[in-house]
Amino acid sequence: MNLLALQRTMASAVMQPLTHSENMSSIAPNGECMKKYAARFIKPNGRLTSFERLEIYNRQYWWRVLESLAADFPGLQAILGNRRFEDLSRAYLVEHPSHSFTMRNLGSDLKGWLEKNPKWAGSRQNMALDMIRLEWADIEAFDGAREEPLKLEDVARSDGANLRLRLQPYVRLLDLRYPVDKLLLKVKDLNEDSEVSSNTFRERRKRKQVLAAAKLKPARIFLAVHRVDNSVYFRRLDVNEYGLLFAIQNGKDLGRAVTDCFGKKAPTSDLDLAQVTAWFRNWTSFGWFCAGARKRLSR
């Protein structure tokens, strides 16, 4: 057996799901008996059979990736409950094993996968999808690139209508059907509280999380997921504020973005203008616009 063949043979077995009792499957990836499959390439020793030696790696793989996904999606776990979340995780990871050198990207296909496989979230599909979007945005906002931010004076100096701004790469905008931001913050708080707690407390915490998710009613919200001093924050946005930022993020110049946001009629009233000005003041104070737009500004 050459190197590539051996690695394919072993990886297929290692990445095959464990049984519900967390043992290696008795059936190999190619359908043959796993004992025979393992014995073909792994030596037994005086204490362990080939099957048992392979099983050590099979278990370590699954425990590692399941733990990583659970750490990245505690909100989804709260919505689905532990058992359902674990079943979903296994099914997802079978179809979407890691294709990255870092486990940070393990959940990158989760939203798309769940959209195609709604049975894993059942009646909580929409809430689950919203939570996945928020938790993935949280990950991206945490370690996304930050470019030199633009100041309010830079924006004010420019030719307004043709100005084309860019949002910082770490800023994520979300249009959600459920107020999952509050649920996620609650889950994180409870998890932090229980880091040094007893099993009883942890069980109570899980029940609290599931109950909180059960009470969540649909309510459309708009969010910016961003960072301040390297900490991630969720900021609720007004519908027009979201629309304007969304248009800017999608490359529209300021004039077009404002038209998209307010309809064909630009915000000519004092109230609207004051509102847009206040938004820009806030956004620039957070450093959301990139200096990369400077070239266009000076044109």
């Binding site: 690695q7 390439f41 792994i42 204490r47 392979l54 790696y57 050198f101 945490f142 370690d143």
Partner: protein
Amino acid sequence: MPANSFNGFTNYGIGIGLRSPHFHHILTRKPVVDWFEIISENFMIDGGRPLRILDQILEQYRVVQHGVSMYFGSAEKPNREHLRRLKELVRRTKTPWLSDHLCWGSVDGRYTHDLLPMPYTFEAARKTARKVREVRDFLEVPIAVENVSSYAEFHVSEMTEWEFLNEVVERADCGILLDVNNIYVSSRNHSFDPMTYVESVPAGRVAQIHIAGHSKYEKYILDTHDHPVIDPVWKLYERSIERAGHTATLLEWDDSIPSFKEVHDEALKANRFLARRVLARAV
């Protein structure tokens, strides 16, 4: 022979792994530590808190990069995105050498995120050495390969683990990160004499030494990095530095991580053996 071309002719002393539970202590108390080892993959990102902390650490301490997913032994070519990001980090840290494991963990683009054991064949040694050379040429920094703990052996193997290690490092002309805990763990799992392994390693290629703790189970030992170093592992360490000289040494503690002081004190126990060696040479 403390400094050699495989560790960039440095003499770094005793370090510990940089781990997040200790960030606050390190940044506020600024303890005296010879050097920190970072897991490269944790910092191969575009921005945010981890890079900010790394920059603060770099202002005050020497840092060496240690990777967990280069997979020198994987049959596939190196991942270009991985290499690009790793090179960016090498520029940032100015690591004098870079280490990763003598193992495989990915195939056909799928990653297990584990350190899987190599079949000890000449084909594997040839391909692994070629990959080490490619990575070194791209990164332009000395490379040291680390022996891993293993729980399985293959029928196709044509040599012992230490013979395989020697075959790879001679072909690649690279350094060795000698993990004496891993030697001990594998020796118990595969019933060989760990001292034979230590005696067989080309001492002039040892760029760095790892020490760590492990967990015993009924039928095997797992490399868990969650306990202090045990005496048999210290004995392997002692013999390693007798052969290789006063080599950069690092304690790994990755799970159930105790206080910074406890981890650092455990690492500094290596000084006993280093001092004993100096005295022995003086007599």
